[in-house]
């Protein structure tokens, strides 16, 4: 019997779904074992009965063995959908950094909801001032939530987007009844570049600026990007993007590094609960770079992990005592 799969997208760009399709030919081998019962990106499936005959206050999703959710939670509708998915699916997978940690949208967690509305509908120069929209729209939640803050999640597949190989691997693990867990190692643990434990120069440069490398040269001859002054989030990011298995003679290289770009941190913190901002500032100063040169530190070093309370509005300064 085919495994029933339900897929949902919440607060997301859709890249994770593209990544599922990007599995390519191996997907054809997987398909006979899978039956998609619900997938808004592919199928026109309504929440309240196909012609709207159902209860408009209740979301209905068909039961499935495996549920895949991409995207974090930004509004009440997404919360309902996530809860319904949890109720109807035996195993729930959070796919992509948004579902796992809040992702890019969770950078909004640096401000309160009122500040966001004010900026978007009234403060922005290119916008005609208007009141907050409130008709026929689900209200926003107070902040962006990662999926596992709202419902219990069984398997996490991080990445922005997750690599097709990894989705395939996770699905195969589930089909064969094996657990899919990423080891608690950092990207640097898997990175083959040459490290000398101190920075080459004192300056932090922007991506694409002054990175020295020879294309197709052996990785051992390429100097660590961070030591070259690039803001590479490797030390504070979970490994796994290089893939679990390699072909013979092939060197495992993290995906962004393979494209000669510094790591952006999309696999989230190495250990659950650690704070990449604090760890990264420590790492930068230990190898002799000037952490002051990091532009927009809070957002830059928490780019994908704003859920789980890692990005919060700054505490309000209490008014000074009157004398």
């Amino acid at each position: 019997m085919a495994t029933k799969v339900a897929e949902e997208w919440l607060n997301i760009c859709g890249g994770c779904e593209v990544s599922i399709l990007d599995i390519g030919e191996p997907l054809l081998d997987l398909l006979p074992a899978l039956e998609f019962v619900h997938m808004p990106v592919l199928m026109d499936h309504k929440y309240h009965g196909q012609t709207g005959e159902g209860d408009s206050h209740k979301v209905e999703i068909p039961a499935a063995d495996v549920g895949i959710i991409s995207g974090g939670i930004r509004n009440e509708k997404e919360k309902l959908v996530a809860q319904e998915m949890r109720a109807k699916c035996k195993i729930l997978i959070s796919l992509g950094s948004c579902a796992c940690f809040g992702g890019i949208p969770a950078m909004a967690n640096m401000w309160t909801l009122d500040e966001l509305y004010e900026k978007v509908y009234r403060d922005s120069k290119s916008t005609e001032k208007s009141p907050n929209p409130n008709k026929d729209l689900p209200p926003l939640t107070d902040r962006v939530y990662a999926l596992d803050e709202v419902v219990k999640v069984d398997v996490h597949i991080p990445g922005c987007p997750p690599s097709p190989d990894m989705i395939k691997e996770a699905l195969l693990c589930l089909l064969n009844g094996k657990p899919f867990v990423l080891p608690e190692k950092s990207v640097c643990d898997e990175c083959p570049t040459k490290r000398e434990k101190k920075a080459a120069g004192g300056q932090i440069s922007r991506p694409l600026q002054g990175l020295a490398f020879k294309q197709n040269a052996a990785w051992e001859e390429t100097r660590c990007f961070m030591e070259q002054g690039q803001l590479c989030l490797g030390p504070v990011t979970k490994s796994g993007c290089a893939g679990q298995t390699t072909e013979q003679g092939e060197v495992k290289v993290p995906r962004c590094i393979k494209g000669y770009m510094p790591c952006r941190g999309c696999f989230g913190p190495v250990k659950k609960g650690s704070n990449p901002l604090v760890d990264m500032m420590g790492a930068l100063s230990s190898i002799g770079l000037n952490p002051q040169q990091v532009a927009d530190r809070r957002a830059m070093l928490n780019r994908y992990v704003g859920g789980h309370g890692l990005l919060k509005p700054l505490p309000a300064k209490p008014a000074p005592i009157k004398k």
């Binding site: 604090v278 500032m281 420590g282 100063s285 952490p291 002051q292 530190r297 809070r298 005592i321």
Partner: protein, 150 residues
């Protein structure tokens, strides 16, 4: 201003009469300095909780930010004077990290006065007492930590 008025203004300046301060003291200099302050019967405010560490260089920014975001009103790191480090350059590392910590105070919406890095040698009992007094006085003038629980 009369003396009483001065005392009164000083009193109203205090926003947090009983701050909680975490002090990381290195085993070789500052902790021994604290010991000396104790055995010399020096008086200093009892607000600091001293944590003995092997070297100020092992106090990762993590520990400091963790303490501050879990409700400590101030954090003090004490190490050996530059050049005196038992591990040669641990305190220089601490100094570099302190810069990062000062930057991060902004990112967490905390005042600069909440963190201090000081050099106290094993023979500087009076200095230890003085640093403690200064730090406590400075933190008392700040409001309680915004991250304080309960």
């Amino acid at each position: 201003m009369s003396e009483a008025a001065v005392a009164e203004t000083a009193q109203t300046d205090i926003q947090n009469p009983d701050p909680r301060i975490i002090a990381f003291c290195c085993n070789w200099c500052s902790y021994t300095g604290a010991d000396l302050a104790g055995t010399s019967r020096l008086q200093y405010p009892p607000n600091a909780r001293i944590v003995r560490v092997m070297c100020s260089g092992m106090v990762h920014p993590n520990l400091v930010i963790d303490a501050l975001t879990k409700g400590a009103d101030g954090v003090l790191i004490c190490g050996c004077h530059p050049g005196d480090c038992h591990y040669i350059d641990g305190n220089c590392k601490a100094e570099k990290r302190a810069e990062a910590i000062r930057l991060m105070l902004e990112d967490f919406g905390l005042e600069q006065e909440r963190f201090r890095l000081e050099w106290v040698s094993a023979s500087e009992g009076p200095r230890f007492a003085q640093v403690m007094t200064e730090m406590t006085e400075a933190v008392k003038r700040l409001p309680p930590s915004p991250y304080k629980v309960g």
